[in-house]
């Protein structure tokens, strides 16, 4: 430095021109001459840990500053900051309200000292203001006002002027100079100044107008409305009112209410408000007026105000509060009925979902509370008026309405839904009741009594089906009930009522013929353990019946046995001996049916076993008997003849008097017949015939059986006995049967002529002819004819020829008659033979004539003449014989060759050899004919 100083000193002596030369300056790493040339130094910036300071500590610091500092500015600042930190922290730091005046008294000295000093780094207007404040705080209003007037006068442009004006006006107001205060406030409002202060001023302007009496109240009201506009310009501002403004706003509302109440109430208020768009704070004014009325014992007026608001602003957000207020007002006025009506209004107003959604959480809670109260009220009062049915019903219905709308809006509404259901039930609205119960049961999570509610719904569904579960139910109702019980069962699987209900359903579905469902329910009951015995019983019963009906007899049997076990265990109350008997009967039937089924399926032994085991279950029962019977029948059908025969005989022995026994005979006959024991069968028939009024059908069957067995003796005996009864053929069959008998007798008798003649006679006299009877009769006639022809031939034409001839002629006639009858019966089939035999009769006669003995008494001539006469006599016969044979021969053309034609040809060959005795190679001709040429 000394060097520089020396240089400077040296430079003083240099001529000015040299001074200007920068090159002579020696910097020596130091900064230049002026602040601009100042060389910056390195300043370190680094974060340091900050102490945790409490507002109280800060308060202490300011307090100490105020107490220790003599510097008015510092002191004033400390005071201001103290109050600030107290306000911001909400803690009680710094000076108490009691201390403050004293503190400001002290402060005044500071202010005065600043003023006296005349030099103040701050602004004097501020000082004046602070002094005024201090004076005011220490109670020197006049001095305070004086300072303020000074300020306003001296520093009209000071930013403090507005507040000073305000204070001045305040002072005027305090002094009761309201008109002046009004002017002062208005000046302030019209002039410069912050909005906060102006709003305060407006507020006070309102008061100064108010204080001037009712005549100025319209003015005051307008001002107060302005105040509210200022504080609460928007909806949003309602929610963010500064704590400091709360009292002002509150007071403004209060005074508006007071003015309105002292004038024409809400009408005055609305007059002041005018018809414009409602401003955000309007509800507050109404509210306040309503409150005022309420507090001053005019509940009706209060209610009117509240209602008026809602009426005037039907879509207003605050309507819920107003409606609620009506409730509160009536309640506080001790008018529970009116309060209740108001609650009903409230509830009704927000019944629509849209409206309700508009409510905030508290309002919704309130709505729910009211709805609940109303619901309970209507429920209870309806309960107490059960006697007056109409009233009770409508009461319950209303209660239900409330409960329902409440329940819809509550998360855990199980109990409410149930109440709603109950109310509906009481109101006779079963459908709605069911819905409510169901909602409580299934749509109300965590509702502890859900099962009971579900059961209530089921109970109602049950009302729709007949009380007797075995009677058929309307299908729809039953389906509904089933669905309900299904739901119950799946939702409350452990509920003990489920089984009984399902058992009941099983019974009902069975009654309705829906076996599938019946079975399903029965299964549902029987599958899990734990269901009651009675339910089990019912279920098994249904199961058994269904199985039975479905011909699932094995399952049916199992079910019946379960049922029976339950009865036998004595665990099913109310069952009687009859029940057991019925069950046993059904069980037997099931087994029987199994027998039948097995029989149908050809499982004989199984069927028999089924049929027979019935007896062990129900010895002596009809079913057992039938079983025995059917066992035998089954064996019969299975052609197990001997076993069947044994069974049948056993049955007849065991149950000789049973109806079924009467049929045993036939069955035995059948069995014997089938097992190739026709004699036994015949015997059985004969035995049977003995018991019959008309034994002949049996005897004839026996005869047939004897016939089959070859026991012709017994047969013929029976035929003979029968024919002795001279039966008449009543129809073709009986005719055939009789002719057959005759034929058989013919065949087996040693002298069949009797039977042949009878047969021919019967045939001739019958109206019915069958081919067979005609053939048989033809044969009989032929046999008879041959016998007569033999007789004819055997009659020698001896002398007396005439006699002999008579005899012969009779015989010839008899034979010819039989042959004609034979041809009549046998027709074409026997025509060749008949023609032949008739021809032979004539040829015999001719021959016999020719060979007849000439009477001995004749001479040769005579004898010759005689001979000649005989020949002449015999010739027509011969001619007749040839004609018949030729006729027979002639039939070849139409009927072809047969032996009898052959025979006729042979005879013709003998009788007319020239014409007929020719070697004709028929066969070769035939063969030629067969060549197909």
């Amino acid at each position: 430095m000394r060097v520089l100083a020396g240089l400077c000193a040296f430079s003083l002596l240099l001529p000015g021109s040299l001074l200007a030369q920068e090159s002579f300056k020696v910097e020596l790493d130091r900064d230049g001459k002026t602040i601009a040339d100042m060389r910056p130094v390195f300043l370190k910036f680094e974060s340091r840990p900050l102490p945790a300071i409490s507002p109280a500590e800060v308060g202490r610091r300011y307090q100490r500053l105020f107490e220790t500092s003599d510097e008015p500015e510092v002191r004033v600042d400390a005071l201001n900051r103290l109050s600030n930190i107290r306000m911001r922290s909400g803690e009680d730091v710094g000076y108490s309200a009691d201390q403050e005046p004293e503190i400001y008294r002290e402060a005044i000295a500071s202010y005065e000292s600043i003023l006296d000093r005349g030099s103040f780094s701050g602004r004097l207007d501020e000082l004046l203001y602070q002094m005024a404040k201090a004076h005011a705080l220490t109670g020197h209003t006049d001095e305070s006002t004086e300072r303020l007037r000074q300020l306003v006068g001296l520093y009209p442009d000071s930013p403090l002027v507005p507040e000073s004006r305000f204070r001045i006006a305040e002072a005027e107001f305090s002094a009761g100079k309201y008109a002046r205060a009004e002017t002062s406030y208005q000046t302030l409002i019209k002039g410069e100044g912050g909005e906060a202060l102006k709003s305060k001023a407006r507020y006070m302007l309102g008061w100064s107008q108010f204080k001037q009496g009712a005549g100025a109240w319209d003015r005051a009201a307008a001002t107060f409305l302005d105040v509210l506009d200022g504080f609460l310009p928007t909806e949003a501002s309602l929610g963010s009112v500064a704590q400091s403004s709360v009292d002002t706003i509150d007071d403004t509302l209060r005074i508006l209410a007071v003015m309105a109440s002292r004038k024409q109430g809400v009408a005055s208020l609305e007059g002041w408000l005018g018809d414009g768009v409602p401003r955000p704070w309007v509800p507050l004014v109404y509210d306040r007026l309503a409150d005022l009325y309420a507090v001053t014992g005019e509940p009706s007026a209060s209610v009117r105000v509240n209602r008026r608001f809602v009426q005037r602003y039907p879509d207003h957000r605050d309507n819920p509060e107003f409606l609620n207020q009506v409730v509160q007002v009536w309640r506080q006025a001790g008018k529970p009925e009116a309060a209740r009506d108001a609650k009903a209004d409230y509830v009704a107003a927000y019944l629509p979902d849209d409206a309700y959604k508009g409510l905030d959480r508290n309002q919704q809670r309130l709505w729910q509370q009211y709805a609940r109260t109303l619901a309970d009220y209507h429920y209870h009062s309806a309960s107490e008026r059960l006697a007056a049915k109409g009233e009770a019903v409508s009461g319950f219905a209303r209660a239900a309405d409330y409960y329902e709308s409440l329940a819809r809006r509550q998360s855990e509404a199980g109990s409410i839904w149930r109440l709603a259901g109950d109310a509906r039930l009481q109101a006779g609205e079963d459908e709605a009741a069911i819905n409510n119960f169901r909602t409580a049961a299934y749509q109300s999570p965590d509702y502890p009594e859900a099962a009971d509610s579900a059961w209530a719904a089921i109970t109602l569904y049950r009302k729709r089906v007949p009380s007797d579960s075995s009677a058929p139910s309307p299908a729809e109702a039953l389906s509904d009930l089933s669905a309900e019980i299904d739901r119950f069962a799946s939702t409350f699987p452990s509920d003990s009522r489920t089984a009984a209900a399902q058992a009941d359903l099983a019974t009902r579905w069975y009654a309705n013929g829906d076996y599938d469902r019946a079975i399903d329910y029965a299964h549902a009951v029987t599958t899990p353990s734990g269901a009651g015995q009675k339910a089990h019983y019912s279920a098994w019963l249904v199961m058994a019946k269904v199985r039975q009906a479905r011909q699932q007899y094995a399952e049916a049997e199992r079910a019946w046995r379960q049922t029976l076990t339950l009865i036998d265990d004595g665990k099913v109350p109310g069952t009687t001996g009859n029940d057991r008997k019925a069950v046993v009967g059904q069980l037997a039937a099931a087994i029987y049916q199994q027998g039948q089924a097995a029989a149908s399926a050809g499982e004989v032994s199984l069927a028999v076993a089924h049929f027979q085991r019935i007896e062990t279950l129900a010895p002596g029962s009809e079913m057992a008997i039938r079983g025995r019977f059917d066992a035998a029948n089954t064996l019969l059908k299975a052609s197990e003849w001997q076993t069947a025969i044994n069974e049948l005989r056993r049955f007849r022995r065991d149950y000789p008097d049973h109806d079924l026994t009467s049929g045993i005979g036939e069955k035995l006959v059948y069995a014997y017949t089938e097992s190739d024991q026709p004699v036994r069968a015949a015997e059985e028939l004969l035995a049977m015939a003995e018991t019959r009024e008309d034994p002949w059908p049996f005897r004839l069957r026996a005869a047939d059986l004897f016939h089959d067995a070859g026991d012709l003796k017994q047969r013929n005996a029976l035929y003979v006995r029968y024919l002795d009864t001279r039966p008449r053929a009543k129809d073709a069959d009986s005719h055939i049967r009789l002719q057959t008998m005759r034929q058989r007798l013919t065949e087996s008798a040693s002298h069949p002529e009797q039977w042949q003649q009878a047969m021919v006679q019967a045939e001739l006299s019958s109206d019915w002819h069958s081919e067979e009877t005609l053939r048989l009769s033809a044969r009989s006639a032929m046999a008879l004819g041959i016998r007569e022809a033999d007789t004819f031939a055997s009659i020698p034409l001896t002398q007396p020829l005439a006699r002999a001839l008579d005899r012969k002629q009779v015989a010839l006639e008899a034979a010819r008659t039989y042959f004609v009858q034979a041809q009549q019966f046998g027709g074409e089939a026997v025509e060749s033979e008949v023609l032949y035999r008739r021809a032979e009769l004539y040829r015999q006669l001719a021959a016999d004539l020719m060979a007849s003995t000439v009477p001995s008494d004749l001479n040769e001539m005579e004898a010759m003449q005689y001979q000649m006469l005989l020949e002449e006599q015999a010739y027509p016969f011969e001619e007749k014989a040839i004609a018949l044979h030729a006729k027979n021969h002639g039939r070849i053309v139409e009927h072809g060759f047969d032996p009898w034609i052959g025979r006729s040809l042979e005879v013709l060959g003998q009788m007319n050899p020239g014409r007929y005795d020719r070697s004709v190679r028929w066969m070769s001709w035939n063969s030629e004919g067969n060549d197909g040429a």
């Binding site: 000193a9 003083l12 230049g32 100042m38 340091r48 507002p55 030099s119």
Partner: protein, 545 residues
């Protein structure tokens, strides 16, 4: 800081005028050549050695003689005689302006502004150069003080560019600043004042005034929110002036307002280097904390505030010590002498001088007229006493020499040698001053002084050769000695009064300074409290979130 306080003449110049250093004492009885007498008187007057001047005024002739005589009367306490002499001169044709000037100043001292205005009016009318400007300045200032800034402005506009016009405009600017809310007028006046200073030939004075004007302009611009303008003004302020710390402080403020906190802190950091006695330094200490605070380093901010408080506390200790010293040694001894005893010489005053707290307080203390007067009074009395004691010892030496001679002894050659050595030392001092002298006038005076020293040396040589005096001389010497003793008693009594007056002022000043520290302390505490309040509220907010 500037409010209500007018600018005063340069402190350095004042110190020089006071002759705070031990001035060379002219041996009495040395015959001064006729032509040199006015010069010797002027020197005596300039060096505050009025008695010497008075001794010579009787034997002085020439046109300037009445004026010098009047000045000598005035300076030596013969006020009435001096004033009468001046009035006579003022009525005459020669030196009437100078006389009017002096009369004006005298009236001003008596607070007779009316008379002062009259005399300054005359001085302005008849005077020229610096005197005329000063007179015009005073006239303008009277108008200004009378609440007629326009008239003052009119007078100022008629002045020549230079120191006085600058001061005038500066004061006018102060008035405008006080009256106007908008500093436009004041700034215009200050710009004019700045332009006027350029013409001042006295560089120290010019520099000093320029710095003050710039600082004031910067402050006004800053207050008006014209930060760039403020920065422009303040950056022109020299780094080593008494207003530098204040300028730096405002500079920092303006930068901070521009958002340049770090640069602001540079300025405050620099300002902090100055002793707290200077305006703006204490504020700069607070500013550092504020700077850290604004830069977001709250921890450092707190530390800076605490550091500031520590500085204030230690300054208060210094002030207490100073106060104790004032009580013990008196303000003059503690402050003025104390400043002298530091190894610095007033003419080497530089920025380092300013870094000495005590020097700083002295300079600041002497920035007030009353202090200047009080110190000057004590200094004069001290000088008088010193003079008397020197006379006394001279006489005693002479008497003992005479006794010695009477007893047959010879002159004490050793003592004479010592005196001559002192004379030579003084001669060296004068030569050194000559090297530093600026104006031609100063050089001339110093040269004359050099010559007088030479005379003194001759006189001493003469004494050493002088023979013993006659017996009558001894008696006369003794009478003189007792007379001197009487004077010294009076001087001592007067000095006691003056010093106690100075002590009062100094103590009041120190108390003021202490109060200022207390205020700064309070301010810092306030800042700490604000910081803590912020932290507490932050905490509250955090815990509430």
């Amino acid at each position: 800081m500037f409010v209500g306080r007018s600018l005063r003449i340069s402190l350095t110049a004042f110190l020089a005028a006071c002759g705070c250093m031990a001035g060379p004492v002219l041996a009495g009885g040395i015959a001064v050549p006729e032509d040199l007498r006015p010069g010797v008187v002027r020197y005596a007057l300039a060096t505050g050695d009025a008695p010497d001047a008075v001794r010579m005024i009787g034997a002085m002739n020439g046109e300037e003689a009445p004026l010098l005589r009047a000045r000598a009367w005035l300076d030596s306490g013969h006020r009435q005689q001096g004033l009468e002499e001046l009035r006579r001169i003022a009525d005459s044709d020669t030196y009437r302006a100078k006389a009017s000037m002096l009369l004006g100043r005298a009236s001003l001292e008596q607070a007779d502004s009316q008379q002062a205005a009259r005399w300054f009016g005359l001085a302005a009318r008849y005077g020229f150069g610096e005197d005329k400007q000063e007179a015009l300045y005073h006239l303008a200032d009277f108008q200004r003080q009378a609440g007629a800034p326009e008239k003052a402005g009119k007078i100022l506009s008629g002045m020549e560019a230079g120191y006085w016009a600058a001061v005038g405009y500066g004061n006018l600017a102060s008035d405008y600043a006080q009256q106007d809310t908008n500093p436009a007028r004041a700034l215009v006046a200050l710009r004019v004042a700045l332009a006027m200073t350029e013409a001042d030939q006295e560089s120290d004075r010019q520099e000093d005034l320029r710095n003050r004007l710039l600082a004031r302009a910067g402050y006004l611009a800053y207050q008006n929110g014209e930060y760039d303008k403020a920065i422009g003004f303040l950056e022109k302020v020299a780094l080593d002036s008494p207003v530098t710390p204040l300028a730096l402080y405002f500079h920092g403020l303006a930068l901070a307002e521009r958002g340049n906190h770090r640069a602001a802190m540079q300025s405050w950091h620099r300002a902090k280097k100055f002793p707290l006695a200077y305006a703006g330094v204490a504020d700069a200490w607070i500013g550092m904390g504020r700077g850290y605070d604004l830069a977001g380093y709250l921890g450092q901010a707190g530390e800076a505030y605490l550091a500031a408080n520590a500085a204030y506390e230690s300054e208060r200790v210094t002030l207490r010590k100073l106060k104790q010293q004032i009580r013990e040694k008196g303000a003059y001894g503690a402050l003025v002498k104390g400043a002298q005893t530091s190894d610095l010489e007033w003419f080497l005053a530089d920025s380092r001088t300013m870094q000495q707290p005590r020097q700083a307080y002295l300079m600041d203390f002497l920035d007030t007229p009353s202090a200047q007067i009080a110190v000057a009074r004590v200094a004069r009395l001290e000088r008088l006493d010193h003079r008397l004691s020197q006379e006394q010892s001279n006489l005693e030496v002479l008497l003992s020499e005479l006794d010695h001679r009477e007893k047959g002894g010879s002159a004490d050659q050793g003592e004479l040698r010592q005196l001559r050595a002192e004379g030579n030392a003084l001669g060296d001092q004068v030569e050194r001053l000559l090297e530093k002298a600026t104006g031609a006038e100063q050089k001339r005076r110093l040269a004359e002084m050099d010559r007088i020293l030479g005379d003194a040396d001759s006189a001493l040589t003469a004494v050493s050769h002088a023979g013993s005096a006659s017996g009558g001389v001894g008696a006369r010497l003794k009478a003189l000695l007792s007379e001197i003793a009487g004077y010294r008693e009076r001087v001592s009594a007067l000095r006691a009064t003056a010093e106690s007056r100075l002590d009062e002022l100094a103590l009041a000043y120190v108390d003021d300074q202490d109060q200022r520290m207390v205020y700064a302390y309070d301010k810092t505490e306030q800042q700490i409290a604000h910081l803590y309040e912020y932290l507490a509220l932050e905490n509250l907010q955090e815990t509430s979130q």
